[in-house]
């Protein structure tokens, strides 16, 4: 596989500066006004040099950088800007994955002149969107992402099919998606670079660090088998099946639906998402079409739940003819919430599981996605009786 990674450092800052040139070179802090009880979402390098950091309370950021330009978080604007870059990328390649906001991957497997191609795409992005990605080409997503992190502006790093491990070997282990506890232990054990981890035996690393260790070992060896999850503009997932010959019994249709749902729920899980609606469309051999939308009470990615609804639908429906084609569409996609999924199989304690889940989510979607609602019924100011805060591990 060949993957390109486009990483827009401080994406939202780039967007803000692009839209308002006068902000260039100033200490920008995005997240809200200083008195608001929110956290810093992102900050420009001028603000970072004052000690401002992501996820720091705005109040603290204000104390550190009183001269800072505080901007409210305009999520719509950033989402649009990100979509625009994804659309642009999607116009160039059939498979584009949206990573955390500001990171996109592109499948280059069918591209003969990958370097020229990516270079061109990069220039188009800079020209049309006036955003500046760090760019790299590598055999898989992790290597590509790591390469983009160390790429210089305007440069495209190319790593050949077998070069992943070698490229990673001098990079720090903190690039790995490891829990902070594991990172601490690695430091203590003198394992500072990915190459050091890669050179240990997989068995030993697995014994010491469990499943997490196994994955970290693979990544540091340049092995990342995760595939690109295609991004599509309209958020929906669809699978269809053609019955040849047309299905005559409910059993056949049900078996077909089962197969589709397996695929769909797999795709959902890959995206760490759930859906709220399932649309079932059937094409009968007499050219009749039946369509029905199932609304779930709460968003789900569980195949069994969906299958139950699907079967209930089959039981209630009167079939006038055999079914020649069936299409299942999932819409209303939203992130999974913790109640529904266990992200790690290891038997961990509740708190640790929560912590690792949050770590995963943050890695996946970036900082600021996991929040906690605080309810303060006795707050003297009625308008402050509830608030949304960053989840603190």
């Amino acid at each position: 596989m060949r993957v390109a990674c486009f990483l827009f450092p401080h994406f939202v800052v780039q967007v803000e500066v692009r839209d308002n040139g006068s902000l260039k070179g100033r200490p920008i802090i995005i997240g809200g006004l200083p008195h608001e009880r929110k956290v810093v979402y992102d900050a420009s390098k001028e603000a970072l040099s004052c000690g401002v950091r992501q996820n720091m309370p705005l109040r603290e950021a204000y104390a550190l950088c009183p001269q800072g330009v505080f901007l409210p978080l305009d999520e719509g604007k950033y989402a649009n800007a990100f979509s625009a870059s994804l659309i642009l990328l999607a116009n160039c390649s059939p498979v584009v994955e949206a990573g955390t906001p500001g990171t996109a991957f592109m499948d280059l497997s069918y591209e003969c002149h990958e370097f020229q191609f990516v270079e061109e795409v990069r220039q188009i992005i800079e020209k049309r969107l006036q955003l500046h990605p760090l760019t790299s080409i590598a055999p898989n997503k992790f290597v590509a992402w790591a390469a983009s992190r160390v790429a210089r502006p305007g440069q495209v790093i190319v790593i050949n099919e077998r070069g992943g491990r070698d490229f990673l070997k001098d990079l720090p282990v903190c690039f790995l998606p490891a829990s902070s506890r594991t990172l601490e232990r690695l430091e203590l054990l003198g394992i500072h670079r990915m190459g050091q981890l890669a050179s240990l035996s997989l068995a030993a690393v697995s014994l010491e660090f469990g499943n997490e260790g196994k994955r970290l070992w693979e990544l540091s060896n340049g092995i990342d088998s995760s595939t690109l999850i295609p991004w599509s503009k309209a958020p929906m997932l669809e699978e269809q099946i053609c019955f040849e010959p047309a299905a005559k019994t409910i059993g056949q249709v049900s078996a077909g639906g089962d197969e589709l749902l397996i695929r769909l729920s797999q795709r959902l899980k890959e995206r760490w998402q759930c859906c709220l609606r399932l649309t079932i469309s059937m094409h009968f051999s007499n050219d009749h079409i039946a369509q029905r939308v199932v609304h779930f009470k709460e968003a789900t990615s569980c195949k069994e739940t969906m299958l139950r609804h699907f079967r209930q639908y089959l039981e209630k429906t009167r079939f006038t003819a055999s079914v020649s084609e069936m299409r299942l569409t999932m819409t209303g996609l939203c992130p999974e919430n913790g109640k529904q999924t266990l992200f790690l199989d290891e038997p961990l304690k509740h708190r640790e599981r929560l912590a690792s889940t949050i770590n995963w989510l943050r890695q996946r979607y970036g900082e600021g996605v996991v929040g906690k609602v605080l309810v303060k019924p006795n707050n003297p100011l009625p308008e402050d009786s509830f608030s949304f805060t960053e989840f603190d591990l």
Partner: protein
């Protein structure tokens, strides 16, 4: 139950001598205050956005209970809550 305005609504209020509300305009209707049920003062948030308010819980002649407050910095009145 009551309806809380997270963003309080600005009101035109006719005041008495001690700044107590006598009548106010809400949704185009003039509400006359029949009695003040409670009165309290809130001084909060001086470390980020100072808030000083004099709250009044009043029953109007239309027999509805309102929580109003006067911003003590500006003297402007707001409606915070309506009780069912």
């Amino acid at each position: 139950m009551s309806k809380l305005f997270k963003e309080a609504i600005r009101l035109e209020v006719a005041e008495g001598v001690q700044h107590e509300p006598a009548a106010f305009l809400y949704k185009g209707r003039r509400e006359r205050v029949r009695e003040t049920l409670k009165q309290w003062r809130v001084v909060q948030g001086w470390w980020r956005r100072p808030v000083e308010r004099e709250y009044f819980q009043v029953r109007t002649e239309s027999d509805t209970i309102y929580d109003l407050y006067r911003n003590l910095f500006t003297g402007v009145w707001y409606l915070q809550r309506i009780y069912d």
